[in-house]
Each structure stands twice: as C-alpha cells, then as structure tokens.
C-alpha cells in the first residue's frame, strides 16, 4: 500500500527532472586471480540496497549463460544474499542485466542514467556478491550517495578485490 504512491512520485519526478539529474553510475569490480587446481569463474551479482538492506534494483548478474537448457541458472542461488533479496523474483536471462562470467581482472559496469531515472536521491549501498564453484562466497558493500558526483571504495578479502563506485554528472 505504501509503495504505490512512492513509485508514482518517483516516476513523476523522473519525467520532470531527467535533464537535471542526468547522472551516470559506474561500478568497477576486481575479480582476484585465485590459485586453484579447479578454478571456475565466479558468479557475480551487483545490486543497489537502501541503508536498511532492502534491495532497490539489480544492475548486473554474471553467470554461465551459455550452458545448454539454461542449466547455468542452477547455481544462481549460490549468490545467497542476492537470491534472497530479489534474485529469486527475477527471470534470467534479463536484458541489460545478465551476462557471461568474467575472468580474473578489473571489470567496469556502467549504468546509463535512463535505467536509474526512478532512483530518488539519497544514501545507498552498492552490493557486489561473488560465489565460485568449489570456492567461497563473499559480498562487499560500498556506501555511496545518489544525487551529485562522488566516489566510494571497499575491498573484499577472498572472492573479490577492490570495488569502486563512481557517480558522475
């Protein structure tokens, strides 16, 4: 009941305020090189959370999209936090969100302003969660502000390296 007016307001604001709020958002994620006899690239989910940890929007999901019969979806649940906070309500593959797993190295996800039009200004957390076959799981949270340029960083310790969030005009 409460969310309906909010969405209407946000959509209305977005329509009216798009030119002024044409911010862009990018997330740089480092996937560490891990020495393992049976290394598989991690599944990774990136999403925006409110400070109370409720999910706002999933930005990216990297999984084995190329496996036959959608079999790669069997392990989406291993990104346990994302799965519970919204992943399980989504349909994969999803346009502009899902993609193939990435090799170790730095990867940047840039979100066009149009996709964040309904995001009200305020404090948020960028969450990056990685889960690896025969490996571990880790989620890194980066607090950032939507509504003006800023950058924020955090670093994982096992399955993720540096995560950098950049909000630019």
């Amino acid at each position: 009941m409460r969310s309906l007016p909010l969405i209407l307001t946000a959509a209305g604001l977005g329509l009216a305020a798009t030119p002024a709020l044409a911010q862009s958002l990018s997330v740089a994620v480092e996937i560490p090189r891990i020495a393992s006899a049976s290394y598989h690239r991690p599944y990774v989910a990136i999403w925006i959370e409110r400070p109370d940890q409720t999910a706002v929007q999933t930005l990216a999901v990297w999984y084995d999209i190329a496996l036959p019969a959608g079999e790669g979806k069997d392990w989406l649940k291993d990104m346990r936090t994302w799965w519970r906070r919204g992943g399980r309500a989504m349909t994969m593959p999803a346009d502009g969100i899902s993609g193939a797993t990435r090799a170790p190295g730095r990867h940047t996800v840039s979100i066009p302003a149009a996709r964040l039009r309904s995001l009200p200004a305020g404090q948020y957390l960028m969450v990056v969660e990685a889960a690896r076959e025969l490996g571990g799981r880790e989620a890194v949270r980066v607090p950032f502000r939507w509504g003006g340029p800023n950058t924020a960083n955090a670093t994982g310790s096992t399955e993720l390296g540096a995560v950098r969030v950049t909000v630019a005009r």
Partner: protein, 267 residues
Amino acid sequence: MKKRFALVALAAAALALPFAAQAHRAWLAPSSTVLSGAEAWVTFDAGMSNGVFIADHAAMRLDGLTITAPDGSALEAQNMMRGRYRSTFDLHLTQQGTYRIANLSSGISATYKLNGEDQRWRGSAAEFPAALPAGATEVVATRNANRIETYVTLGAPTDSVFTLKGEGIELVPVTHPNDLVAGEAATFKLTVDGQPAQGLTVTIARGGSRYRDNPEEMTMTTGADGAFSVTWPEAGMYWVNAQVRKPAQGTDVATSAQYNGSLEVLP
C-alpha cells in the same frame, strides 16, 4: 580490444589445464564411525557432487562395493537403494573391531578411431586389447584404479582390514582412522600399487560447506615415505582425496589412480 583478447586467452588456458579436476567429488559417508555394544548398525550414503557429502548431483553406482569385516570375511550390504542423488545401504556390525567399506573400480578405458569416427571402450584389463574391433586405430588407453572408502569401528579399533592390496592408491594408517579428534594431529601413509607414494597432493575438505562462506580446504604433499600429517581444525566429516596419473611408457599403457576417503573427526 587487445586487452580483452588477452583475458580470453588466459581464461581458456586456465580452463584447459585441470581437466581431470572438473569431475565431481565422490564420497561414501557413514552415519557413525565409532560404535559400542555387542552389535550395531551403520547406514551409508554414496554420491558425487561439488560440496562433499551434499547429495545434490548424482548417486554413486555401487557395483564394486567391497565390505571387509575385522576377521577378514566379506560382508553383504543390506537395504541397498539408489536414489536420484545418492545411493544408500546398511551394514550390520556383529564383530568387534574395524570394518573397511570400499567401492572399487578398476579396468581400462580407451579411445580409438574406427572408419574415421571417434569411439570409446571400457572393460577389464584382461579383455584389452582383444575386445577392440579389428581395424581400430589411434588407440589411447588408460588403466584406472579408483578406491572410494570409509572405515567404521565397533568397540576398540583394529588394524586387520588395512593389509595392502597393491593396486591403485591405498591408505595405510599410522593414526587409526577411527581415532581422530579435533585439535590432534593424525598421520597416514599413501601407497601407489603397493609402493610408498612420494609427492602426492592430498586434498582435505570438511563437510557442511553450504553453511559457511569459505570452503576451508587443506592441501598437503606426501613425503618420501608417502606420509602426510594433518591437525584437524575442528570436528566433522572430512573428505580426503589423492590422485595420480602416469603417461604411457613403452608397452605400458597410461595409468590413473584415485583415492577418496571419508574420515570422521570427533570433538
């Protein structure tokens, strides 16, 4: 663009290297390992999966199930059932001492070409190569010896079931495998075809990986006498794996041997 290509090439190399390691882990897990009384029952689960002892991938075929009682006699499993994700069976312990429960497989697997097409063959060492069709070319054969096993003890532990068979990888206790305690060190020796196995990589994984973020696996290497030691970080069911491959040499075909053991560590 160049950078992206380099990344792809690296990833392809990483994928190609550990081909043998792609296989799922095989485990044979007892419901208890340390029992008391005049007689007792133990039930076993056997399956293959990424997370050891988590039945979520495939049931194990138990064609090679071999159960040895403390007096050396062979016992039959009871209530055998093969489910979707695990096979189960029960064992009635009526003698005091240590039992060895092993699923053994050995034989030859081969690939060859017949009339330009790739073919596969699997069978016993005695049938090879006579069983291959006439005209088979480019025969590449591997002699396999796999042992998936565990041990349970009624009463005081005994050593009678650990006599060497001399085939594949075997575990020779220095510490008895049903006498393992968290925080204490244990030592075992591995043999390959009856000889001390130096330089084998041993992987040790604790069950319950679904309920923690870190797999907490250990790897170690056997010394000159084939021995490795481990200090158990905590109680639980542990999976111990070692494997060895030898390329073909002269008239000897390539060999591949694997050991998968389940060891229970008590608090």
